[in-house]
């Protein structure tokens, strides 16, 4: 009978434990990407990636129909300025915090079509800063560290998309 109590106890704890473990997984995966990415590129700088193929294994499920540029950021030293020309075809700028939440995003689709042909100029600030203290378009990251991902259509002639990513930047303010 005592063994039965132990078995029930272990199973109940394990059942709850799987959710506790699952809570840690996104942060662990992002930490891995953060540190592996940091070996390939400098933090707080934008890196334009080659068109995805089977050799691209930093992040799972890359789309072969998109061009990517990313900036792994750390806002402990202060805000970042992100500048990016917006091409005509599909383009988006997405921000991810260290638990994988897509906490902010800018696109050239739907009601943001008027961004096409302009240059997005964003100040990315940390959770301890006051957005009202900064001019222009401000995005506040819920965590000091995270990742910015630019996506641009690589369908057909990707010249304009590639040029837009190569002219983009992510640098300390």
């Amino acid at each position: 009978m005592k063994w039965l109590k132990w078995c029930v106890g272990v199973f109940l704890c394990a059942w709850v434990g799987q959710y506790l473990l699952a809570m840690v997984v996104p942060n662990l995966v992002m930490e891995l990407v953060y540190h592996r990415g940091g070996k390939l590129m400098e933090y707080n700088t934008l890196a334009v990636r080659p068109r995805p193929d089977e050799s691209m294994r930093l992040v799972v499920r890359p789309s072969p129909d998109l061009l990517y540029a990313n900036c792994i950021y750390n806002l402990e030293q202060g805000p970042l300025i992100i500048q990016a020309p917006v091409p005509k075809r599909y383009w988006s700028m997405q921000f991810y915090q260290m638990n994988t939440n897509n906490f902010a995003g800018i696109t050239n689709q739907r009601d943001e079509r008027d961004r096409v042909g302009t240059v997005v100029n964003v100040t990315l600030i940390g959770p301890d800063k006051n957005a009202a203290d900064y001019p222009g378009e401000v995005i506040q990251s819920p965590t000091q560290r995270g990742m910015l991902l630019l996506r641009a259509s690589a369908i057909g002639d990707d010249t304009a998309s590639r040029a837009a990513l190569e002219q983009s930047s992510c640098r300390p303010a």
């Binding site: 699952a22 072969p64 988006s92 994988t100 939440n101 739907r110 991902l149």
Partner: protein, 199 residues
């Protein structure tokens, strides 16, 4: 003696918890997933209100996914309950969809693009060869096929790491999807996938 019993129980608890979590993650996109035929999506992907298991699933199998307003992802790893296999030939038939653009990509069980000589990993609304009425057919097979052939083969990761039951899966991306996908993801128009034969 008592401390060893507690240590053994803690270790056993951890092992079972890991097994339960891996099984839950491996079973798909979590409780909030929505099935549309053989395709499965989750309306909370990328968002802050995603559940614990969904976030873990996405972190492992779809990191840096966008929220559904930007793009919707439908995944398919089985047809009529049978896992996708490299020794089978599949037919995807479709048309155009209410989205700014769409693509269908094949991924290995390791979640990366499948190595192939042709360097063909996907078809999209522009590069697909259509019939006169605008509809199209993609054939998925490891051997060369006529028309829109999407080659599949062994994944890049070593086979001893393989946990999923399927050999590869398909991901339909709908960028800037229309209202039908946002409001009725379970019934919105999607391509149909059928098995043509297995060797």
């Amino acid at each position: 003696m008592k401390i060893f019993r507690w240590l053994a129980a803690a270790l056993l608890t951890l092992v079972i918890a890991v097994i339960l979590m891996v099984r839950t993650i491996g079973s798909g996109l979590g409780e909030m997933s929505v099935a549309n035929g053989n395709w499965v999506t989750n309306v909370s992907t990328g968002s802050a209100d995603a559940g614990v298991m969904l976030k873990a699933t996405i972190a492992i199998g779809g990191l840096l996914a966008s929220t559904r307003e930007n793009s919707m992802y439908y995944r398919l790893n089985s047809v009529a309950g049978e896992s996708l296999r490299l020794n089978c030939r599949y037919r995807i038939a479709g048309d155009d969809y209410d989205a700014d653009w769409w693509s269908i990509t094949a991924y290995g069980w390791d979640n990366y693009l499948i190595p192939n000589k042709q360097k063909r990993y996907s078809f999209n609304n522009e590069n697909i060869v259509r019939r006169e009425d605008g509809s199209w057919v993609i054939t998925i097979a490891s051997e060369q096929q006529a028309g829109n052939w999407l080659p599949v083969g062994p994944s890049g990761a070593p086979t001893w790491r393989k946990l999923p039951d399927y050999d590869f899966d398909l991901l339909l991306r709908l960028y800037t999807p229309g209202r039908s996908y946002l409001e009725q993801p379970q019934s919105a128009a999607l391509p149909t996938v059928t098995v043509e034969g297995c060797s």
